[in-house]
């Protein structure tokens, strides 16, 4: 059983790495910036070992390991209120720890190769350490304010990493966008926290603390908080999750977030930033579903629908993107939609299971795209092709990751996605609606990811960044627009493309993740006992952690053959269709796009949502509307009144000064007139 200090060490190891790199290595020993990578990797490796130990410790435990909370600061001599911090360690926490630390370790090893010779090498590893530490702090938090602290820190670390190449205007803009859009969601989470504390007296009467997460679970299940209040609380929490997990309508920041270095995208998309939203809903699951036997609550219905719409909508955009990272970004949004959908239909364990498998294959796919970029110099798939021959390791690992994402039978993604769809189907009602959205999204997923495989690795090489820059200078028009180059491509101007496999520091993590992408699903949730590995240990433990509270029944007794077959056929159909179009050239893509020009444009422009938000709401309504009006009101009206007072008194003074002529006759006249007036007044009213 893991001790509390060991659990804290999981968090403090990367924090120490951050502090040493940030305060010592970067300012004073930047010449030896290589050290920072080793420090960061050592720290996160240690955290991974301890996290695995933590996972082993919680398995088989019915209740979370409860360490007493520590005082952070107290008010009113401790009588008014005490803000505390502590660790809440249940199987959800432990699984998230393993996911975060293992993916982070792989990404950081990969970064040694990818970020080699970058001027900000030390800064990069410092922030990466802080990023991982923040995620660790988030999943271990026992107190909701503590959770919010790390929630925001995760956000700011992605801000710093997305904007890592801050000289590029596009990167700086994307970083800002990511932070502000997610902060709109955080506003909802903040209100939920305030509302919890609003009920502090009710909590206190039951001997509970409204900010402690275990106490919140209990209060929700005991019915301490009314149904309506619970729905509001769940809504606020979910708003936070929508922002962080890039769900519709706050999804727009994630595709832009690829302006950061590619390993950062891998980490953001797999194990840290976006996973936080799904984790948040899972962590407060009793607030969403205080009684699992009562069917879906209003909040759950909302979660399921938002998840379903996101899964579907993002997948449609993924069909038409040219940039390999953009396809992957929309794929992430879509897969997160699947997880939310699962939580909405009550499949708590399936959601986390999918988060778990997705972390590995999505990290792998991003690292693969980075490797591809290393060779071709661009992320634009129109200028790739044929890389299979030049980078076999990247090809094979990417292919395995794609099969997993597509839901090819017995790969990791198949197990988890299937479980989600089965749950949704069995739920009935709204569940059937989201099942429909999900199954279509699954088909599109298989299609778009194999479109990527074909365009990138198969066929003939189409020139890479060199050709693209040449095309851009020549003003070549493709897909209805002049080719434009990105900041990343611009930085490679003048370089020649030389295709070849990436260095071993990059290939090794990909190979390890590929293994996970293939077997993680089966190992984690085998349908039957495998010697030391129990059948369904993953789901079982997750559900059991909630069991004493929620009295879950274990619904996922086994893979339902019928539904699994449907899902598998759908995945295969998607793969085959993309083979037929992109490999066998059964039909030209231009003809498809030409047949539905409006639809194609709509998808290609991402439903015009960015235009609506940035051009419409932010710029026109807010900046040039409300803010313009307020600033004018302030300087013209409010300050105008002030200046009017100043003007009046100055001119009044001036007018009075005119009367001060210094001539006694004038003063005497005034005096006499005054006396006459007073006397007259006395006569009239006296």
């Amino acid at each position: 059983m893991i001790s509390e200090s060991a659990a804290w060490a999981i968090f403090f190891l990367p924090i120490a790495s951050f502090l040493i790199i940030g305060l010592v290595v970067r300012p004073f020993f930047n010449r030896f910036s290589k050290i920072s990578a080793y420090l960061a990797i050592l720290a996160i490796g240690g955290s991974l070992v301890l996290s695995s130990y933590a996972l082993k410790s919680v398995l088989g435990h019915e209740e979370a390991i409860g360490w007493a909370a520590h005082e952070w600061f107290s008010l009113g001599g401790g009588e008014a209120f005490t803000f505390s911090i502590g660790i809440y360690m249940d199987s959800l926490t432990a699984i998230m720890l393993v996911v975060a630390t293992s993916v982070s370790l792989m990404v950081q090893i990969y970064s040694m190769g990818y970020m080699k010779d970058d001027a900000g090498y030390a800064r990069y590893f410092a922030i990466m350490s802080l990023f991982t530490a923040s995620m660790i702090g988030l999943v271990m938090a026992r107190n909701i304010v503590q959770l919010f602290v790390f929630w925001e820190l995760v956000g700011v670390c992605s801000y710093l990493l997305i904007g890592f190449w801050y000289q590029r205007p596009s990167a700086a803009a994307a970083a800002k966008k990511a932070f502000i859009v997610t902060r709109i969601g955080d506003f909802g989470l903040l209100l939920a926290i305030l509302y919890f504390f609003f009920n502090q007296d009710t909590f206190a009467a039951a001997g509970l603390n409204s900010l402690e997460i275990p106490d919140i679970h209990q209060a929700a299940v005991m019915g301490l908080i009314g149904t309506v209040a619970l729905a509001w609380l769940a809504g606020g929490i979910f708003a936070g999750a929508i922002g962080k997990s890039a769900q519709v309508p706050l999804h727009t920041w994630l595709p832009d977030a690829m302006e950061g270095p590619t390993p950062v995208s891998a980490l953001i998309h797999a194990a840290t930033m976006v996973a936080a939203g799904v984790f948040l809903v899972a962590r407060f699951f009793p607030v969403f579903s205080p009684d699992p036997h009562a069917g879906m609550t209003a909040a759950m219905t909302l979660v399921a629908l938002v998840g379903g719409i996101t899964a579907f909508g993002a997948a449609t955009i993924g069909l038409v993107m040219h940039d390999i990272k953009r396809v992957l970004a929309y794929s992430t949004i879509s897969q997160l939609g699947f997880m939310m959908l699962a939580l909405g239909v009550g499949a708590y364990d399936a959601a986390i299971f999918h988060l778990f498998t997705h972390a590995f294959f999505k990290a792998l796919l991003f690292l693969g795209s980075g490797s591809v970029n290393h060779a071709a110099g661009t992320f634009d798939m129109r200028y790739m092709g044929g890389l299979r021959k030049h980078m076999p390791w990247t090809y094979v690992t990417f292919l395995l990751g794609s099969l997993s994402l597509a839901g090819f039978p017995f790969f990791a993604g198949w197990w988890s996605k299937d479980e989600i769809l089965a749950h949704a189907f069995n739920q009935g009602g709204v569940g059937l609606v989201v099942y429909g959205l999900g199954i279509v999204a699954a088909f599109m997923t298989a299609f778009y990811i194999f479109r990527v495989v074909h365009l990138t690795f198969h066929g003939e090489f189409r020139g890479g960044v060199e050709k693209k820059i040449a095309d851009a200078s020549a003003g070549v028009v493709r897909d209805g627009a002049v080719v434009t180059i990105t900041a990343d491509e611009e930085s490679k101007r003048g370089e020649h493309v030389h295709l070849g496999e990436s260095p071993v520091t990059m290939v090794l993590p990909m190979a390890l993740l590929a293994v996970a992408a293939v077997v993680a699903g089966f190992i984690a949730n085998p349908p039957f006992d495998l010697g030391v590995i129990q059948a369904h240990w993953f789901s079982h433990n997750l559900v059991m952690a909630q069991e004493p509270l929620l009295h879950f029944e274990e619904k996922a007794a086994g893979i339902e053959v019928g539904l699994a077959t449907v899902a598998s056929i759908v995945a295969l159909a998607g793969i085959l269709l993309s083979y037929w179009i992109y490999q066998a050239k059964g039909i030209s893509t231009d003809r498809i796009a030409g047949a539905f020009p409006g639809l194609y444009r709509l998808l290609y422009r991402k439903y015009y949502i960015d235009e609506l938000y940035e051009g419409g709401l932010v710029n026109r309504v807010f900046y040039r509307g409300l803010a313009f009006f307020a600033a004018g009101f302030d300087s013209r009206f409010v300050d105008g009144i002030v200046n009017m007072f100043g003007w009046t008194s100055r001119n009044l003074g001036r007018a009075m000064a005119q009367a001060q002529t210094g001539q006694v006759q004038v003063y005497g006249l005034g005096l006499s007139a005054g006396i006459i007036l007073i006397v007259a007044a006395f006569i009239v009213w006296g």
Binding site: W72, F73, S74, L75, G76, G77, E79, A80, F81, V145, F148, V149, F150, E152, L153, V156, Y159, G163, Y166, Q167, R168, P169, A171, A172, A173, A175, K176, F179, I180, R183, I184, D186, F187, L190, L191, I193, L194, Y195, F197, F198, Q200, D201, A204, F622, Y623, L626, A627, F628, A630, A631, D634, V638, D639, V642, G646
Partner: protein, 499 residues
Amino acid sequence: MFVGLLTTLVFLPAAAALIIALFLKEKRQVRVFAGIVAVAELVLSIVAFASYDTAEGGVQLVDRISDWIPALNAQYFLGLDGLNAPMVLLTGLLGACAIFVSWRVEHRVKEYFMWLLLLWTAVMGVFVALDFLLFFIFWEIELIPMYMLISMWGTGRPTYSAMKFVAFTFLGSAFMLVAILALYFATGTFDMIRITQELGFDTPYSRLIMPAAVTFFFFFAAFAVKLPIWPVHTWLPDAHTDAPTAVSVMLAGVLLKMGGYGILRVCLSIFPDVARDYGTPLAILAAFSILYGAVVTMRQTDLKRLVAYSSVSHMGFVLLGVTSVSAVGGGFATVGITGASVQMFTHGTITGLLFVLVGLVYEKVHTRHIPDITGLAVRVPFVAVSFVIAGLASLGLPGLSGFVAEIMIFLGAFKANPWPVAFAAFGVVLAAGYILWTLQRILFGPPSDRQEGLTDASWMERLPIVTLIIAIVVVGVYPAVITDVLDTALPNLINFRMP
């Protein structure tokens, strides 16, 4: 009782100003001497803060001459309690920073440092004076150095701004004087502690010659101008924009806190019932001020004006925290009012840092016009990193001090006035907007050719920056540093008669 520490703390800068006036001639002598005094004063303020015994509580380090003006029953009464101890520390910290950022001033150096030191004395005096007459004298004296500093060393329209600042404060002071006299005639004393005990706890307000609510709002008028609260805030952007860097630091860092401190020390301590009765209108006013300030900040193109308007927004939080006094039970009031006090300290350090940095940027690129500044991060990395830290602190990032204050204010005030607080909380999104947009525009992007050959901050310039960053991080990570001291004063403040 006469310990002498606080008297030294208050009059050391003034004495130094006198020595400069009489004995020093060389610019360099003046600077070095002022620097030494600054360090000494900073150390003294830290000593005062650290020697406050939290276990004992109450008023400590008292300097009292009971028969200062016997005819009026006015005393010379300085003392430290939980409420003003953090303010003393803040004033020491920022005053020292103000002296050090003035190193490059070349115009009439001798007079400049004299006025700056006098300003320091006046503000310190406001915070430690516990006799209303003395308090009022310090409150008014502070105007003279401010007027001189802005009008003589300012830029833009310095005389207009200086006069506006003075006129606004005087308007508020007139109301305050009436209110002080009302209290004096009711109690026969200027002793703030005794008045608090007599009026705030035991005796009903009926002894007052005018209604308690009127007296409350007369005081509030003076403090609202200083804080500032919409609609009496328009002096602030002008004063900030035209003032020299050091004065902006003092103004945003310390002078605004006189308003917040006054609200806590006078309005809330002496009239807790009135504060509670008017909690909702005050909360609406605060929320409006927060959002209005944030929205107007968005449109600013002058860096200093931008930070100034953000102060309007952030100081609204102080008032919002105070309105938590209307909540019943659950320790909400304690949480909210502690938050308000912490917000004063954190806003002082954060905005002080922002003004130091803005001043530094102005010195280097000779403009504050945001569209003319770009890509500074490449040229001056230290300034850029500090700017990012200050900006993130200002938008309430956890781990830095702004967050602690804001979350406490929200938690405390939400109970009594959920809707105004919910709206005010949207201010955090707006803050993220204007801060990050500003950072993006001035720091990021490709460096401009015009800014070639810029040098990063020197060691002398880094000193105040690093000091303030440490203060911001320490309070952010371990707020008990401040809250433990505040905690000794607040329960007395809040345990007023229950209805």
